[in-house]
Amino acid sequence: MGGLWLWWIGEGQIEREAMEHVRLHVERAFRVPAAVWAGQARPQGTLDVRRKQHASGRMLEWLLREGPGEGRVLGMTDVDLFIPILTFVFGEAQLNGRAAVVSTARLSEPVLVDRRVLWERLAKEAVHELGHALGLTHCSRPECAMSRSAGLRDVDRKGGQLCADCRTLLDQAQDREPRT
């Protein structure tokens, strides 16, 4: 299915440990190697001045343009993401596509959380969005990483791995190449 790339594109820095935590989760969930991409470019033209948030759709377009150009890329950021109708999103992905993005901005609410809690949430959302990029849609099992996370409560309730059904779907989709 091609490689999976994790790329930090935030304004601040990410701890190496956090990145490693996410990487291991992703590898375990999809059973393929995941590598860190260390590109220095940062998203341009994604900020909505009025909302003071970044449009996640535009973020995906930017990732497709600037990313490794091979396999699938997950952009990870600390800026707040949105789609027009919602106040925010944790992340977004092209369904069965090459790009996905997640943000830590809303994962450390309501106040400062323990760093390991934040990493765990980030890993779950990373698996979730990459799952979309690999062709999975939402899953009705609340414990599955592919279940909808509309709020932090959903994120904390679910696990970071795929349920058996989603696994099967993924294996069936294995041979399919991503959309370009």
Partner: protein
């Protein structure tokens, strides 16, 4: 969590809203469609069933409130959620009074949106399950449109179910209003002929010649007034079922004709000489004791035996009082729709009276009584007085506005009426209950003019 294929309509004049909301909902496996304005939304609402409609409040032309009002009429089961900007929240709140499920302020909090959708869908699922359950229960209590929970009627249903698939003639016996025609229709619907016509003829309503041409048709000029050739009911029912109601009332000549048709499966139009083959299943019905009519020579025995292949007896309503509440519920449901009146039920007093009544006119009388009650009722509940059941009281208003109590005669008369109606007009039983002999009861009945 979300039901596959549940249809959601997004109505907004802004493309970016339609796209981002539509996309977000699609991810949950919902079947989302979008409309860019009010008229387009109404078109979609007319075309199919929707679980949820998310409707923008401010749109050019027809606004969200107008769409809501139409949606309530077109699809009352669909939950309408109003989408509003912060500035117009008041209008959105007011929309709830007009039947909107709720409102959401743009941009939505994802959790709020998700919870609202889930709540709507789980409520709809519950309503749906209840309906299915209620329908299943009703089915258990019935055979097509005939409903009953009495054991005797369930034997009837069983017999009817067994008889239905064959083409055998069925004879339905029972007092007037016991449901002979609905049962005949049910047998037809249960049979392989269900897509062919069901044709009903009341044999008592017509003179011999008219009935003859009604049944067999006539050629042009067969008799005065026969200006054109006309097909009869036998031909009209070809491939299907012919219901001959009040078969006990047909003339001796028609009895002969009918017997021939049953034997030969061919008919001859009045005034014609060519015979036509007909494939018709006969269901006959009568409130007479046809066997007795036959044995006493008023009905041809050979015809009786032809008809009496499968005989089904419908018990009178007074022998299955347990059906009264069930029938009441069914009739009130249909009456509320027919009369466009929000009738919800009966007072317990009224129901008690219905249970005590003897129902000489059986289910038909019960239906008519309820119809009268539903028409007369002032509120949502039918009261005893609305039914017009009790005989008019002779009581008059006395001094001080108090109602003068009835005389001993009046009380006795009312009591006799009540007991007679309890026994369904059976004088012997009524006399036993009253503790008097039959002759005495007959005398009282004559005195109170309870007999015609």
């Amino acid at each position: 969590m979300m039901s596959e294929g549940t249809r959601v309509l997004v109505v907004d004049d802004e493309e970016i809203v339609r796209e981002s909301l539509g996309g977000w909902l699609t991810q949950d496996g919902l079947a989302v469609e979008v409309a860019h304005d009010g008229p387009a939304a109404l078109e979609k609402l007319r075309q199919g069933k929707w679980a949820i409609a998310l409707v923008d409040l401010k749109m050019p032309g027809m606004d969200g409130i107008q769409v809501l009002q139409e949606a309530r009429k077109l699809q009352p089961e669909a939950a309408v959620v109003i989408m509003t900007a912060y500035a117009t929240v008041d209008t959105a709140v007011a929309a709830i009074k007009q039947g909107a499920y709720d409102y959401l302020v743009k941009p939505f909090d994802p959790e709020e949106l998700s919870l609202m959708i889930q709540k709507i869908l789980s409520q709809q699922k519950l309503v749906h399950e209840n309906e299915v359950l209620r329908k299943a229960l009703k089915r258990e209590y019935g055979f097509h449109d005939v409903i009953s929970k009495s054991p005797a009627m369930h034997q009837v249903f069983e017999l009817a179910r067994v008889a239905a698939p064959s083409s055998s003639t069925v004879l339905i016996l029972g007092e007037s209003g016991t449901g002979k025609e609905v049962l005949a229709r049910a047998i037809h619907k249960e049979s392989a002929r269900k897509d062919a016509p069901f044709v009903a003829v009341s044999c008592a309503a017509l003179t011999e010649t008219l009935l003859e041409s009604e049944l067999f048709g006539h050629e042009r000029g067969a008799f005065t007034g026969a200006n054109a050739r006309r097909k009869g009911k036998f031909e009209a029912a070809h491939g299907g079922t012919l219901f001959l109601d009040e078969i006990g009332d047909i003339s001796p000549k028609l009895q002969v004709d009918l017997l021939r048709v049953l034997e030969e499966r061919r008919i001859q139009r009045v005034g014609g000489n060519e015979s036509v083959e007909v494939d018709v299943r006969i269901i006959a019905a009568t409130n007479k004791d046809l066997r007795k009519e036959a044995s006493e020579g008023r009905f041809r025995e050979d015809l009786f035996y032809r008809l009496n292949v499968i005989a089904i007896h419908l018990p009178p309503l007074r022998e299955r009082k347990e059906d009264v509440p069930l029938l009441v519920e069914r009739f009130l449901e249909t009456l509320a729709v027919e009369l466009q009146k929000p009738i919800e039920g009966l007072s317990s007093e009224a129901l008690t009276a219905l249970l005590a009544h003897g129902w000489p006119g059986n289910v038909r009388e019960l239906r008519n009584t309820l119809e009268r009650g539903a028409v007369v009722a002032k509120g949502h509940i039918i009261q005893l007085a609305d039914l017009g059941l009790a005989p008019p009281s002779a009581a008059s208003v006395g001094p001080g506005g108090k109602v003068e109590p009835p005389s001993l005669d009046e009380v006795e008369k009312r009591h006799v009426i009540e007991v007679l109606s309890f026994t369904g007009g059976n004088v012997t039983q009524a006399a036993r209950i009253l503790g008097i002999d039959r002759v005495t009861l007959y005398n009282r009945m004559r005195r109170y003019q309870l007999r015609d």
